[in-house]
Symmetry: C2
Subunit: 233 residues, 2 copies
DNA sequence: CCGGGATCGTTCACGTGTTCACAAAGTCGC
DNA sequence: GCGACTTTGTGAACACGTGAACGATCCCGG
């Protein structure tokens, strides 16, 4: 493996690393010392060759004939994913979704403490949700200044998302996770990921609809209602 | 375009159709009659050629020199996505996330009525959340029988997700949207998509971490902190 | 010290998705 | 009607991700 490859991990691999990490953490908790690519692939729901190729991007941490050392792999992977220290998170929008995210254990527990929520609704500002203070959107610059490099989670209505994102970014935010059902335009230096519930449901709806069509029209012909799609790379 | 192509829409295209549809619906609401692929691409945040190729999978609904008829495209796309009728949804898990999803307007409003939530916590069973009745998991078979083909949304703890999924599937469910932070194994005839908050944050963390590394080590060299990644295909 | 068995790391071929580029096909002004 | 202009639809080149295959490497028992 060339020295350069270690610094250019394919996007598809990056998206799978957290899954591997979670699986490996479970294994470590159950006192499993080593694991083969085949078993890890099974647990992570992917192909064994893919596991080996993915892990090879991190370096040669496996031992032929034995497998991978779970503890060491967890350590290296955590380091690579930047999980050795906390990343503060600010949630924009204290509505249903925002509150649920603030309460979500998986957030704060594992390295992503929610340091504040911001909203424009003055009746919410000043309260606390799961211990997280709700502050006014206008205080955003202060919050970023307090915590430095921060991750923005957008849980606002669609109409407000772009405006809030713009303010986040001009305040210095470079990582945005968008839950609002809207397409966001961000500058090149900002990393954006999006989670869209409606889109996911509609994708499911498409395949179901097509399956219904296929079985309806092809009652006697060779109906090929190909199923089994895994989602959200 | 061969007759066959209309029935084999690439997965990547399917994932973008809902975005186009939402954009087009907004345009229709603002009395825009026709739109070019270039403008639609701009609004949807993608490449113009990609828009044309994606839309060509639905058929030749554009007019050269003019663009696409917005209304007609909305109609065809809704039909293709199976949005001409409702798809009932059952949410498993009445915790923070499940409740937020039940309250989420984008769900029930646009063709995905939440007909029930299921949980094993007897203190929750019998109550209503945003008008949605919370029933016991054991009633799952009844619920599926009542509403026929149903979409399952899993908002349970990770440990319970596989069990609940198994029960859903044996009750007849063929579409599953998984919010639980766990890898699910489902039979081939079931469509599965997943949304994982922790994974998304960790992906953001990776790119931020790498960026920090790059700028730290390459203060004087040609620091190439390549940003701008769009998420969740 | 050596052979057998297991498993990694990598190469290669293939399929899928993206982007460019351009002919085909339409509109509009005159 | 006709030419200029606009925009679609698609062919082709390219980039990327996947999965199978296999040599390389390591442990273990004797």
């Amino acid at each position: 493996m060339a020295e350069d490859d270690r610094r250019t991990i394919p996007e598809a691999t990056v998206a799978r690393l957290p899954i591997y990490l979670r699986t490996l953490a479970d294994l470590a908790a159950s006192d499993t010392a080593t694991i083969s690519s085949e078993r890890l692939a099974e647990l992570a729901g992917v192909n064994a060759a893919k596991v080996r190729k993915d892990l090879s991007h991190l370096g040669s941490y496996g031992t032929r004939g034995v497998g991978y050392d779970v503890e060491y792999l967890v350590y290296q992977m955590s380091r690579e994913l930047g999980l050795t220290h906390d990343w503060p998170v600010v949630i924009a929008g204290a509505g249903n979704l925002g509150q649920a995210l603030a309460n979500y254990a998986g957030f704060g527990n594992r390295g992503f403490p929610v340091v504040a929520m911001v909203d424009t609704d003055r009746s919410k500002v000043g309260s606390r949700i799961n211990g997280v203070p709700v502050r006014h959107l206008d205080e955003l610059e202060d919050i970023v200044a307090e915590h430095g490099d921060i991750i923005a989670v957008l849980a606002t209505p669609a109409g407000a998302a772009q405006d809030v994102a713009d303010r986040m970014i001009s305040a210095g935010v470079t990582s945005v996770l968008n839950f609002a059902p809207a397409v966001l335009n961000v500058p090149d230096h900002v990393w954006l990921r999006k989670v869209d519930l409606a889109v996911e449901l509609q994708i499911l709806s498409f395949y179901r609809q097509r399956h219904a069509d296929a079985t309806a029209t092809a009652t006697a012909s060779a109906g090929n209602g190909e199923p089994a799609a895994t989602g959200t790379g």
